[in-house]
């Protein structure tokens, strides 16, 4: 999956929870939860939506690695390349 596809899926999942979000107005380097005002329940639903669309279940222990839009997209890109990182398949 290329980063554009991933970015589109991330924004689609985000819009499902926060319909007012405009993708082009998000900063890649700001904390996503603060920028979009996601509470812990919103965040969990967002992670679930990403799992449904991309098949990647982000464990809680990796939340630090996905806290900004830029980091999240890079993380998902890494995890979506088969064979590169086996540890993601632990669940």
């Amino acid at each position: 999956m290329n980063s554009q596809v991933i970015r589109d899926e991330v924004l689609r999942a985000l819009k499902g929870i926060a319909p007012e979000v405009e993708g082009d107005q998000l900063h890649a380097d700001r904390l996503l939860r603060e920028e979009v005002d996601l509470d812990s329940m919103d965040w969990l639903r967002f992670i679930e939506a990403l799992n449904r669309s991309l098949g990647i279940a982000i464990p809680e222990s990796d939340y630090r690695e996905v806290e900004t839009l830029g980091k999240l997209i890079a993380y998902l890109e890494r995890k979506s390349q088969p064979g590169v990182d086996v540890s993601m398949n632990r669940r």
Binding site: P19, E20, D39, S40, R45, E48, N51, S61
Partner: protein
């Protein structure tokens, strides 16, 4: 013969506008079935019916605004003969406003409203072709085709926003006018709770993951069993204790305002069950499809503002309830344990309670009980 009345839609809602009937005369109703959709100042509500029955007659027209308790429909009990059951004199239901509501806000079904918001359409400009001019899903799709540039600006009518503010204003002013609040707070160490939770979540599928919120809700519910004077309502100058541990949960709506729907029987539910109930409640509160049974009957409300980053919240009691529990942000803070300074996750809990019903000493023991319960997370 069963007379189905508009059920209570929460203490601060005394009227509703019928948006849609989901039943017709002759239909059979199963307990818990959604039979109508009613709009209130806060949200469109799915009205459930708990009688197993057959519909004899609908008494209220779509578009009518009626007070809580108004007869909406006549239902036949199983096996009842419609001829002998027919009422001799059917008094017309009391309407607050009659047919012509078009000047107030557009009539729109919840599904259509959601779709319209998704598409960024202005609800005020939608033409309805449903019953009594109500906007249907089809109308929305049609409008979306015709509109080349979706309008992002108003995601909902300003009228609705104003009605929401007025409802909150009325309830909160009444609270501060009538309820002599006292406030307590206590910092709770969550080191055991958070490590239990992390371990649980690491071993669970995404769908089984828990949030700390549900552990705190469960602890509050269990503590209420020991401290029943905080769970109930103040009515007619007397305290009426609640029978169950039904907790109102304050949910912030993205477009502004808040609702506090009810999680039922919290003390008797597993954390997993509470988690899925809470997730569903939050989702439905935000897209406007709460059920009537979820709006009434809470004996206390819990508010968790921690996600917004505040350390603590001292809340305003939601009348006629007599207490409100608040939790701030779960955060790592310095803590002294066995004479040693260490850093552990903690949360500042608070209690706002009605001094007519309980005293500070009682409230303090309640918060201590919540703290004690959070030290044995596996027992929650």
């Amino acid at each position: 013969m069963i007379e189905f009345n508009l059920p209570s839609l929460g203490a601060d809602m005394d009227e509703g506008t019928l948006l849609e009937w989901k039943i017709q005369p002759g239909d059979t109703i199963k307990p818990g079935q959604v039979i109508a959709v009613v709009d209130t100042a806060k949200a469109a509500i799915d009205v459930e019916c708990w009688h197993e029955s057959t519909v004899l007659q609908l008494l209220v027209d779509v578009g009518a605004k009626i007070p809580v308790g108004t007869p909406m429909a006549l239902l036949l009990e199983p096996g009842e003969d419609p001829h002998s059951a027919r009422r001799t004199s059917s008094e017309a239901p009391r309407l607050i406003e009659g047919e012509n509501l078009t000047d107030r806000r557009p009539r729109i079904s919840p599904a259509a409203r959601r779709r319209a918001v998704d598409l960024g359409l202005n609800l005020d400009q939608l033409k309805g072709h449903g019953p009594k001019g109500a906007v249907t899903l089809e109308d929305v799709e049609m409008a979306a085709h015709l509109t080349h540039e979706p309008q992002h600006e108003p995601q909902h009518e300003p009228d609705h926003e104003q009605a929401m503010r007025q409802t909150i204003a009325a309830a909160m002013s009444r609270s501060k006018r009538e309820i002599p609040h006292y406030y307590l707070s206590e910092t709770i160490a969550l080191d055991k709770a958070m490590s239990w939770l992390q371990e649980h979540n690491a071993q669970s599928t995404l769908q089984e993951r828990l949030l700390p919120n549900v552990m705190l809700l469960k602890a509050v519910a269990l503590a209420l069993r020991e401290f029943p004077q905080l769970n109930g309502v103040w009515l007619d100058n007397a305290f009426k204790p609640a029978r169950a541990t039904d907790l109102g949960v304050a949910i912030t709506l993205r477009q502004g305002g808040l609702v506090a729907p009810v999680l039922h029987q919290v003390a008797d539910s597993t954390l997993t069950h509470l988690m899925s109930e809470l997730a569903s409640l939050v989702e439905r509160a935000r897209n406007g499809s709460l059920r009537s049974s979820e709006l009434d009957g809470a004996g206390i409300t819990v508010t968790q503002l921690g996600d917004q980053g505040v350390d603590s919240v001292l809340g305003v009691i939601y009348p006629p309830q007599v207490a409100l529990v608040g939790f701030g942000r779960i955060s790592e803070r310095p803590w002294v344990k066995d004479g040693q300074l260490c850093v552990v996750p903690t949360v500042i809990s608070s209690l706002s309670a009605d001094h007519r019903v309980s005293d500070g000493h009682y409230g303090a023991r309640f918060l201590s009980e919540v703290r004690r319960l959070m030290q044995t997370p596996e027992a929650l």
